[in-house]
Symmetry: C2
Subunit: 222 residues, 2 copies
DNA sequence: CGGCGGCGCGTGACTTCGTCACAGACATGC
DNA sequence: GCATGTCTGTGACGAAGTCACGCGCCGCCG
């Protein structure tokens, strides 16, 4: 089964497909599973592993003392938890929470290997640095979004983005934590959208009725 | 004068003090000056240089279309613009603005050297990655701050931190952009603090009168 | 010296958003 | 059907951002 790891990596992480690195990967990593809801990393922890996600999604978020949350980003297959990476490499504590949203499979690389490969593999270096840079930019973009855009614009954006077949199968609560807002506020905005005929509301589901109308709401910073 | 660069670097960036690296630094870098108010890097630019700041401070911030700003962090002597670094290494665009707050001097390293040294110098690698990791954590912490703490707590924090000899020589406008708020709001809060006897207000200056009282305001997430 | 213009500040009116509380609607299992 | 927990709707309120305007201080210039 060890050969399988490099195959998975080659497919999902094409930039890592350098022969010498893949041999190392086969020899020195293992795969793990985390069930939906499981914690990957907690705030303040010192990380010891770098997970390369091969299946499922991980949500990374910060949380206030009172329980309000803001989602920073999600890790998809083919990506990695760069916060973990930056903790490992910079010896800082993890500043957020990461939980599996679905069942997650990942190839885990040990701290020592992460660091060693930074020196020995051009491909590995480019991969890790690229991830960190893109995430950093993404988080800053998210911050701009949260600070400067009005909720109706962000909500419209979110709905258009999250819709599958014009349906968003989420509760107002889930939408609120993704947007960094509060459930009651999201409910009110959704109600307003419904009254304008842009969406239809059901329990745990929003159906988009007028995507052009929704797109018209994006303007503030869209 | 070339020998001087490695001396400056040794003093301000002690973790870079590896002989072979310093020789490279002497041979391949130059120093630059930027006057107060000068732009270091603009949003959307592709960066070509990595500046290691040796004197002065740089403010890195995001800006809304309407002109509202949020300061992400400041770069002090001995630090570097890690956003630049992450752009360089990850080939992403710079997602914010960086301007010199005071006259700034810096040693600049060319893109090619930044990348080459990542492979050849352990010290360089540790330096760059450490900077990125700490900044990433700092920005996330800032986001928590902005999202979850009330303005009076953040303002008290800011005043205590920025005071020199119990004086903060800034306009309400400057304070507001640092806090990611609006001038009018800051004015109101400062007025309230004055009425509670915690500060005294003059044109372009806040004088702290009761630091213990100010510290008592920090509690929400402090 | 007087007037003028820019900047910094104070303040009121209004909007948006978060918080809290509570009620009703729906789902599920018994 | 009934009970319980989850999801949603809504009103009241407070915190914060927006907009507008006026005032005082200061430097400048005629």
């Amino acid at each position: 089964m060890a050969a399988r790891v490099s195959e998975i990596v080659t497919e999902l992480f094409p930039t890592l497909a350098a022969p010498s690195l893949l041999a190392e990967v086969d020899a020195r990593t293992q795969t793990v599973s985390v069930p939906a809801g499981g914690f990957i990393c907690m705030e303040g922890e010192a990380c010891q592993m770098l997970p390369l996600v091969t299946a499922g999604t991980v949500r990374v978020f910060v949380q206030s003392d009172e329980g309000r949350e803001v989602t920073l980003y999600r890790i998809q297959p083919g990506e990695s938890c760069v916060l973990t990476a930056s903790c490992l490499l910079g010896e800082a504590d993890f500043p957020a929470f990461a939980v599996a949203e679905t069942d997650v499979r990942a190839v885990v690389v040990r701290l020592a290997d992460v660091q060693a490969w930074m020196g020995t593999s051009e491909a590995w270096r480019g991969f890790v640095l690229g991830l960190i840079a893109r995430r950093f930019a993404e988080v800053i973009g998210r911050m701009e979004d949260l600070m400067f855009r009005r909720l109706d614009a962000r909500l419209a954006d979110y709905l258009l983005d999250a819709a599958i077949d014009s349906q968003v199968a989420r509760t107002h609560e889930q939408i609120a934590t993704d947007l960094g807002s509060a459930r009651a506020v999201v409910s009110r905005h959704l109600k307003a959208l419904e009254q304008d005929g842009l969406v239809a509301l059901d329990r745990s589901r929003v159906t988009l009725r007028d995507t052009a109308g929704l797109r018209a709401l994006l303007r503030p910073r869209g």
